[in-house]
Point group: C2
Chain length 358, copies 2
């Protein structure tokens, strides 16, 4: 090993032993397809960081090329593409696949489930990651947590929602189990691709649409055609992303390359949420200045949604043994977390947030 | 390079290019002294993970030995020891050093400051890390974020606090700026080392003591001698740890070793808070079963503390130009975060936490 070259290389990139790898580990080129478009830049940063950091950590020998949604694989088919080995890996949100098995819903965000920290605790320490691995194994995938959005916003509505009656008949673009819950409350859920939402709202083909939160929503300009901006997305109290790796490809990776992927995903976790928390307040201020009318859900909507959610969950558990088993892990854990968070975190937040506003 | 050896080594530990390093980078042995005792095992995990992961990532060539508080350096002198190069690095909480400069208080947790995510956003994206680096430079240190406890509990009290009048004359073991705030409210703050708290409470030398939260507090058994357990620690709405590295030693490290330290600290960030969030509810249940009486601060205590906090901060800003400059970054950021979090996160938490309790 040439020490001069090593140090020159090391100075150029903050790499772990990068040049030393050059002679010892295989050169591979993988493709990473994302469920997210490039303009959801904080989400897409997750994919880009993985590619960049893994490249640095392996002196470019493990080369990952990222593709935004739709370029080589449609947004909602990332799991299929990774399962089949069409691509080696993908960035996605597992709740996109509740049509295959509703159990996928637990591992991104459950309606009226844990917030970011509570979901993290369940995944990391409460058995969630193990249950997820078990499910993914049936789909020939290895999964690693990859970032988080925080509690999302409830979306953009052309008309004000004054009570649960106003939900009836509402044509609402809403994803995943949220759709089943709104349907039970009388709405007509529609799943429209991101690019079609704006014209559909403008023409009134749909009455409302949810997306992510202020930072991402601002770019799509919904506030110009549907001014009422509701909070929160009780069906998305957090939203965790995953990196999926085809199981055979994962098994074939040298351990240092597996570790590089784990490290890179780990770095994304605190950074992605910091980017959202940093960007959202500024975006919200601009949205409100641009005419968005901020609204909280009426209490009867929240109450009806709480009931509808638990009915949908219990019915699903009655039909799907795996879903039932995961819910039996999830529910008591969630309830314990809720109870504990009320005491310190939430009592602090409630007092401090309102004291600062006076 | 012997490929057979490489792969054997790679299989044994999830190391990044570990064996490849063996012939290229220096063997070094460093000491890491912690401000925390071994029995604060989630905090101490931060130090241990850094040592373990860096060892794995460098095939043991960068060897770090960890020492709990007091073994080679007293708990509250970690900054001094790292500054002087007595040890190469240390794990600590920067607010222990507000006696040297009150500005240190901003980088762990500010009374009535941001919660975990808000503080993270300020540190990572709002300029906090840069302001921290500037301060640490004067102390000859390089700092990296190393984990977090979440909002702490307000501590153990021998008698119930029914109003702000009950705070007057109270001998309260409380750390940092919290002491100044309670003093302004009429209490007599005392800073007693962890090991002396229990006997002092038992004898009535002090009336109350705060430590961390249920998981850590349980081990010290305070509930047996001071039953009233108050929430929250408004003077510690989060608490971020740091890894400090002597600047000269940091500069001397090969880049791959610097990256290994950064990676290891990054991995601690989501894992430490998940351990606290996982352990706290279970510990709290045992504490309550053992006789602890859970109490929220009376509203007039919170209000008096809010006023006292801002008086202390403004007066400190009047005396210390650096503190003033940091507060001018911190305050508007905090207020924006508070305003935004009320809308989605907090409105979700408030509804869901109480709905589940019914």
């Amino acid at each position: 090993m040439n020490r001069r070259i090593l140090l020159a290389g090391a100075a150029a990139v903050p790499a772990l032993a990068a040049p030393a790898l050059a002679q010892t580990l295989p050169e591979i080129r993988w493709r990473l397809t994302s469920s997210f478009p490039r303009n959801l830049d904080i989400l897409y940063f997750g994919a880009e960081h993985v590619a960049k950091r893994v490249g640095e950590l392996t002196d470019g020998r493990f080369n990952i090329r990222t593709f935004p949604a739709g370029e080589i694989v449609p947004s909602l088919q990332v799991l299929d593409a990774v399962q089949n080995g069409t691509v080696e890996m993908g960035q996605t949100a597992l709740y996109y696949y509740i049509g295959k098995d509703p159990s996928f819903g637990f591992f991104t965000s459950l309606p009226f489930g844990g917030n970011m920290r509570q979901q993290s605790a369940w995944m990391r320490r409460g058995g969630g990651n193990e249950l997820c691995a078990e499910l993914l194994k049936d789909y020939n995938c290895h999964g690693i947590l990859l970032g988080e959005t925080g509690t999302q916003m409830g979306g953009w509505f052309r008309n004000e929602i004054k009570s649960v009656d106003d939900v009836k008949g509402l044509k609402f673009r809403v994803a995943g189990m949220g759709g089943q819950i709104f349907q039970r409350m009388g709405a007509v859920p529609a799943l429209i691709p991101g690019t079609d939402i704006y014209p559909s709202l403008e023409r009134g083909t749909i009455d409302a649409a949810e997306w992510v939160g202020p930072y991402d929503d601002e770019k799509l300009g919904f506030y110009r055609v549907a001014k009422y901006y509701y909070a929160p997305a009780f069906w998305e109290p957090c939203a965790k992303g995953h990196l999926l790796i085809n199981q055979r490809h994962w098994d074939s990776l040298p351990k240092p390359y597996q570790a590089a992927l784990e490290v890179a995903c780990s770095e994304v976790e605190p950074e992605m949420i910091a980017r959202y928390d940093h960007g959202n307040p500024q975006a919200l201020r601009r949205l409100v200045a641009g005419g968005a009318l901020l609204r909280a859900w009426p209490r009867d909507v929240m109450q009806a949604a709480w009931r509808a959610t638990h009915e949908v969950i219990e019915e699903t558990a009655g039909r799907n043994a795996r879903f039932k088993r995961i819910w039996e892990s999830y529910k008591p854990y969630r309830d314990d977390q809720f109870q504990w968070f009320r005491i310190a975190e939430n009592s602090y937040d409630n007092f401090a947030f309102s004291a600062a506003a006076r």
